[in-house]
């Protein structure tokens, strides 16, 4: 019995679908309540604040798909943030080199994580807990005190709308060319995130290595017996995680024009990345979900915090409300347990 394609997609991606729905509802009502909702300025500001956690959510997704966890994503973000604040300035060639170096350093750190997990045979959660400490230590070495500098033009261009980007670099008639008009108001951060997703995540998912990641999370024994490249996939997963974390760190540097080796912030970002992944429908047990869902999960997290600006809530209550909302949102997964009729199904 063949189901219609849309129905099938829905049932096979319940988590993602509900996350989309939740995000749509929250985002639309947020904009409706906002005095200047649906405007470019607000969109740009929101996009700016979401980009870093979006990248981190993507970074966390792949190790989670394996059935593991990467507790170092926040630390790698911080490390690459500091590296970027050192290197991404000067002549255009130096800037480009700096960007490449930052991204490579994140990927290299991820590679190290992967190697430790695979060849050291250490569980990811504890391996990345330790390497996260190393990353923070390295970040402190690079930037003992907050500071550094990121090219101002780049900073402006990448954190505003497409028009500003074109204007800064004098392309497309300084932003007024006819063919760029319809895109002029789109915030550049969104484009960057989308570009990275399309250029890196989508091909990865469609590759055998990407499929192996899902297979490992679903049934590692079966994946091995099927002849899938288990070790290669695990190493790739963590390397990509490091790469996406570096995207986040790079963006943070561009956005704040500085590097800050803040341990607390690193920890908070890591935990938030896990929350975003769960909200986006990826299962912590592995095998189900994807980076797109995690992007939406990141969006949900951020939109919730945006609400506090427009609603007149006592700022002291904000952390509490954020916490309760998070708890309630992840508790929706509990509905499954109420519907289960064979209690053995509760134990995977």
């Amino acid at each position: 019995m063949r189901q219609g394609r849309l129905t099938r997609w829905f049932f096979q991606n319940v988590g993602l679908a509900s996350a989309l729905l939740l995000f749509a509802v929250l985002f639309l009502s947020y904009n409706m309540m906002h005095p200047r909702g649906f405007s470019a300025a607000v969109a740009v500001q929101n996009a700016n604040e979401t980009a870093a956690i979006a990248f981190l959510a993507m970074a966390q997704t792949i190790p989670v798909l394996l059935g593991g966890l990467d507790l170092s994503v926040g630390a790698v973000m911080t490390l690459t943030n500091c590296i970027a604040s050192e290197l991404v300035n000067g002549s255009p060639a130096q800037i480009l080199l700096g960007i490449v170096a930052t991204l490579l350093s994140g990927a290299a750190f991820g590679l190290m994580n992967g190697l430790i997990v695979v060849y050291g045979r250490i569980q990811p959660i504890i391996a990345t807990l330790a390497t996260g400490a190393i990353a923070i230590g390295l970040a402190l070495l690079v930037r003992p005190k907050p500071g550094g500098d990121v090219d101002g033009d780049l900073g402006w261009a990448l954190t505003n709308s497409v028009w500003d980007f074109a204007d800064t670099y004098g392309i497309a008639g300084g932003g007024d060319a006819w063919w760029i008009r319809p895109f002029a108001d789109i915030p550049v951060p969104i484009i960057i995130v989308l570009l990275v997703t399309v250029l890196v995540w989508v091909p990865f998912r469609r590759s055998v290595t990407g499929r192996t990641v899902y297979a490992i999370g679903s049934a590692e024994g079966a994946a091995f017996m099927s002849g899938l490249p288990i070790d290669r996939a695990k190493i790739a997963a963590f390397t990509l995680g490091g790469f996406f974390a570096a995207c986040g760190g790079l963006y943070l540097a561009i956005q704040t024009s500085s590097g800050n080796a803040d341990i607390q912030q690193a920890g908070a970002y890591t935990l938030n990345s896990i929350a975003a992944v769960v909200l986006g429908g990826t299962s912590l047990l592995g095998g189900i979900g994807g980076a797109v869902g995690s992007l939406i999960g990141a969006g949900i997290l951020r939109v919730i915090s945006f609400y506090f600006r427009i609603l007149d809530i006592d700022p002291l209550l904000q952390p509490l409300i954020e916490g309760i909302v998070l708890l309630v949102a992840v508790s929706f997964g509990a509905i499954r347990t109420l519907r289960v009729k064979n209690k053995l199904d509760l134990f995977r």
Binding site: P203, A215, G221, G227
Partner: protein, 507 residues
């Protein structure tokens, strides 16, 4: 044998002190359907895993088509043409059927997986195994076990094997699918593919295979052509001693009126769509069997009686008290104690990573405790009793239970439950995948327990067992009891007919 397609010489494999394979010489000819027989622990599984690249031998040599080979990974074995269809299934539940069939070498476009080509390939292979009803885009998780096995076979076929290994490949298949597999094996034989067939079902082996090899205790005992030995001789080779009666003697059938009050009475038990009004009774001293084709509700019935299912409707009276247990914990501590030996000993019966001792005591903490504390003397005695009562062959009670053979593992599960002295013992296909010797011990044990006044309700997928062990057999079809046979009426014809829901007069 120079005309063999695969040849093994001197293969040995050790696991943590256990001799899984010892100096095995084995060969297989192309175009043959070659059965591998042996008890669990005989080494069949290990040999298969070595052949298919999952494990590497500690010593020995392997030749494929005359050339010396060594496989570092299953992938390497596949590329050489040795493909295995595993008992545990190598399917990934959260990927689609098409993804699974082409999992490691999918058709590609621009370096990425070509989904449409995958689906087409899956459709072709599914047609070859006559499973066109399986949707290539469905998640494997959604399929029943028998469909999954067919997908696994389709996947194996897709790798164009020269040597196809089937490890208990037909254990969960429907009759129609079993026939498909038989036809497939005949077709492969004509094409010169060598098939290695591991099964515990003698009638299957006799129907399909032209060559038989017997393994015992990690050694290759003998290889012979079909018909060269009688069934009894074969079993003798497998267990190394002469086997007399397979089943313990049954007491004379008692008329229902003389049985007295049942210990377990079930009326109109229903659950979801799997149980549709079951009526059943079991008295003290009785062994009642559940028959019928796979998946007619037998499993669910046992789970329901043990308190694992929610929202079960109908009336259940256990030892005179109404009500179904709310959980296994409740079932085992009720006035009339119920125990369940579950279907899958590795994931449901045992904590594999823990020692034998801990597994044995898992249901009996109350009994070995004085107050809140466990009494070491009581627990030691309980462990010793458990091991000796069931004659569990183990090094020491603190060895991890995963080092035991399948039969001994099942004995641990049973011993665990006997420790609480249950009144009703439910068993879910207890002898599946277990060697002949241990099977006989389990049959004898069940009869002993019945003679002690316990009520035994057990499901078996093997007719011979039901015929040999049970005082009464209730056959299930579509979640209902469609026939009850007692004493002399329990025959293969009557059971088969009842399983298919046909009314047959037994002469």
């Amino acid at each position: 044998m120079t005309d063999a397609i695969v040849e093994y010489r001197g293969i040995s494999k050790f696991f943590a002190g256990i001799r899984a394979l010892e100096n095995v010489d084995f060969a297989c000819k192309p175009g043959s359907v070659h059965a591998i027989l042996g008890e669990n622990g005989a080494g069949k599984s290990t040999l298969i895993k070595i052949m298919s690249g999952v494990l590497r031998p500690d010593s020995g040599e392997m030749r494929l088509e005359g050339k010396s080979v060594a496989f570092a990974t299953p992938q390497a074995a596949n590329e050489a043409g040795i493909v295995c269809m595993f008992q545990e299934l190598s399917l990934v539940p959260d990927l689609s059927v098409a993804d699974n069939i082409s999992i490691s070498s999918p058709p590609r476009r621009f370096g990425l997986i070509d989904r449409r080509a995958q689906v087409r390939r899956a459709e072709e292979l599914l047609a070859r195994v006559r499973c066109e009803d399986v949707d290539p885009n469905a998640m494997v998780r959604e399929l029943s076990l028998s469909r999954r096995q067919m997908v696994e076979i389709a996947k194996a076929l897709g790798k164009s094997p020269k040597v196809l290994i089937l490890d208990e490949a037909t254990s969960a298949l429907t009759t129609r699918d079993v026939q498909t597999v038989y036809d497939l094996l005949a077709e492969l034989k004509n094409r010169g593919v060598a098939s290695l067939f591991i099964s515990h079902r003698m009638h299957e082996v006799e129907a399909l295979c032209d060559t038989l090899s017997v393994f015992r205790n990690g050694q290759h005992i003998e290889t012979f052509a079909k018909g060269a030995k009688s069934e009894r001789e074969i079993v003798q080779l497998m267990i190394g001693r002469d086997v007399e009666a397979q089943f313990p003697p049954k007491p004379k059938p008692v008329a229902p009126e003389d049985l007295g009050d049942p210990l377990l009475k079930v009326r109109g038990l229903s659950w979801q769509n799997r149980l549709n009004g079951i009526d059943l009774t079991v008295h003290r001293g009785e062994i009642v069997g559940l028959g019928g084709l796979d998946g007619q509700g037998q499993k669910e019935l046992l789970l329901a009686l043990f308190g694992v299912l929610r929202d079960v409707e109908g009336e259940v009276v256990i030892g005179g008290r109404k009500g179904i247990p709310s959980s296994p914990a409740a079932a085992k501590t009720a006035a009339t104690k119920v125990a369940l030996v579950p279907e899958d000993r590795k994931t449901e019966g045992l904590m594999l990573g823990m020692p034998i001792a801990d597994n044995l005591l898992a249901s009996s903490f109350q009994r070995i405790s004085r107050g809140p504390f466990i009494d070491p003397a009581l627990s030691r005695k309980a462990i010793e009793d458990g091991i000796s009562r069931l004659q569990i062959k183990a090094g020491s009670a603190s060895d991890p239970v995963m080092t035991l053979s399948g039969g001994n593992q099942q004995k641990v599960v049973i011993a665990k439950w006997l420790m609480i002295d249950p009144d009703i013992v439910l068993l879910n296909d207890p002898t599946r995948g277990i060697d002949v010797g241990t099977k006989q011990e389990i049959y004898r044990l069940m009869r002993d327990l019945a003679n002690q006044g316990k009520a035994i309700l057990f499901y078996s997928s093997d007719y011979a067992e039901l015929i040999g062990c049970c005082d009464r057999v209730s056959v299930l079809y579509s979640g209902r009891i469609v026939a009850e046979k007692q004493g002399e009426d329990i025959t293969e014809e009557s059971l088969v007919a009842a399983s298919l829901n046909i009314d047959v007069e037994v002469a």
